[in-house]
Amino acid sequence: MPDTLLAAAELWHVEGDTITLQTGLYDLDCPLRGTADGLRLTQGMGLAGMAWKVATPSIVTDFSVAAADRPLAAAAAGLGAAVLIPQFKAGQLTSVLVLFLRGGTRAVGAAELWTGRSGSFELAMGQAWHTGKALQRFANISKHVHFPQGAGLPGRVWENGRPELVPDVSETKMFLRSSGDGGKELSVGLGLPLIAGIKLQAVLLLLSARTGPIARVHEIWEPDPDDPDQLVRRQGTYGLLQDFADASAKLSFSIQGKGEGLPGRAWATRQAVLIDDLDHAGLPRRETAHAAGLTHGLAIPTVVADTVRSVVVLLW
């Protein structure tokens, strides 16, 4: 089973003047497990508090900085970066999703935030983390690449205001940066619009290698045009999990009530949903998930003007 780029994920919830851990997804032996239990962070404290304070997405690569909590645990977990994603409801920041990405000598992958610049009408790379020697040139060149609206993966995500999966960035002509030596290592790419209200804050790109995909299952769910109460799969990338792919092809999830399955729940709550026991979570695909060895599930909704437009589901 490959090491996924996603090492762990946490959802922090704002309660009054503090932010606390609501749910965390960790491997059994992950040193981060349990370290955030009971932590009550104020604005600017720790990773979640920092994201809460600035209310914009960011990428943290230095876990030893004063603002980062649990530096020892992060180092022990072999983390390379954390992506901090604020989530909003009715214009207020209500929670912060933290994605921990695997570092170390064997890891190959990237997280990039593509943002606008004053005086420019294109996306340029803001904060970024690239790991793996093979991506050195890719990282160097990326600093000089810009995307107008509709161009490249970031430009398309910006234009559509919807997430997009690229099953193999090294193969598709739609991902031009992967040309050249560095990009050959890359495989699954995910572009995620990070939106506050109706305005785009940044486009997050997660890029992973064949040896370590972002997760083991990557999906995007959206309402069925013929039945808007049902979510159907728009895109899916499953690696070797063909049975799971087959089982997911014809599925749909209701968004009525509390919502069905991971996508339905994220749709109903309008915030990220993290489940660390797919086996017992009462989800429609639990048996196939169990057979595939999947235990963790993360659903990230794309919310525009308090209306969910799309849900990204990552399982590993």
């Binding site: 420019s120 040139r137 099953p167 031009l176 895109q235």
Partner: protein, 305 residues
């Protein structure tokens, strides 16, 4: 925000040709590009991808199927002296001398100037391209490189807002090509003319441009991505080519061309379900300037696009 940042705006440009066997064929589809005042932008891509089509639409010499071209705040409608074109072939009138070929445009653009003023303008630009000695030569008496210099002088003498260069060095030998590249760069450094250069030559694109627009393969070609060339101006060829970054940028462009060469649209597996719902109309694709200005570590974003 200063309007200068949007000196040339190419918005959702589409060029479609009728197809007797079915739907019109869109050669270019959804091409978006903003060019800043005084910027030199190279357009690079495979043969037939639509580079020259975009340039000709910008020149007003090829009608748009849809979309807009705005130059200095005005929507263009057909060709005009504010946009001068230099083609691969010099296209000089063979019965006129070099001087008279340049004077032809100067007369049209400066109808109220005195004869001596016009004469000064022609001689100034002929001198700019190093042809003071060849004013009275006919095209048949000049080499290809000299003819192209006349073509460049003719274009620049119009004092255009936008200079459009369609593979202007394509027929020249390497030495003449480099010489002429430097001549044009000297003029552009001095005159600050906003320029679009269509080229196949990777080295030329990197050396001459502030940014390189990499076009996807056609049909339905559009901007694939834009590469910023961070070398300071005025540029020194040896210095630029001695830089490690030059080779990284060059390798990236070559990789892009190789990748596009290998792939054809029908070989690319669709990544999106054909029945996917269309995006809702509520999304405005704007930057959240307010919140990002507060943000630590992120650069301040632009005002709403």
């Amino acid at each position: 925000m200063s309007n200068d940042n949007r000196y040339v705006e190419i918005v959702n440009l589409v060029k479609a040709y009728p197809n007797p066997l079915g739907d019109a064929i869109k050669v270019v589809d959804g091409y978006n590009l903003i060019i800043r005042k005084g910027e030199v932008i190279s357009v690079i891509g495979h043969s037939g991808c639509g580079k020259s089509t975009v340039l000709m639409m910008l020149a007003g010499l090829n009608p748009l199927t849809s979309g807009d071209v705005v130059v200095d705040g005005r929507v263009t409608d057909g060709p005009g002296p504010d946009r001068a074109v230099v083609f691969q072939a010099p296209c000089l009138l063979p019965w006129l001398t070099a001087y008279d070929n340049v004077m032809l445009g100067v007369k049209r653009c400066y109808p109220h100037a005195s004869k001596s003023d016009r004469d000064a303008i022609v001689k100034y630009y002929m001198n700019s391209v190093g042809l003071t000695h060849a004013l009275n030569k006919y095209p048949r008496e000049m080499s290809g490189g000299m003819q192209q210099r006349v073509g460049i002088a003719r274009a620049i003498a119009l004092k255009p807002k936008v200079l459009l260069l369609d593979e202007p060095f394509g027929r020249l030998d390497s030495l003449t090509r480099m010489d002429l590249q430097d001549t044009i760069l000297d003029i552009l450094n001095r005159e600050k003319i906003t320029t679009m250069l269509v080229t196949h030559d990777v080295d030329e694109a990197v050396y001459m441009a502030d940014r390189i627009c990499m076009m996807t393969n056609g049909p339905e070609a559009r901007v694939g991505q834009i590469l910023e060339i961070p070398f300071e101006r005025p540029r020194d060829r040896a210095e630029v080519m001695g830089s490690n970054l030059y080779y990284d940028l060059r390798a990236s462009l070559i990789g892009f061309l190789e990748k596009n060469e290998k792939e054809r649209p029908d070989e690319v597996a669709p990544t999106t379900d054909p029945n996917a719902p269309t995006p809702e109309a509520t999304y405005e694709a704007q930057w959240d300037e307010e919140s990002t200005e507060r943000g630590a570590g992120l650069e301040v974003m632009a005002v709403a696009f």
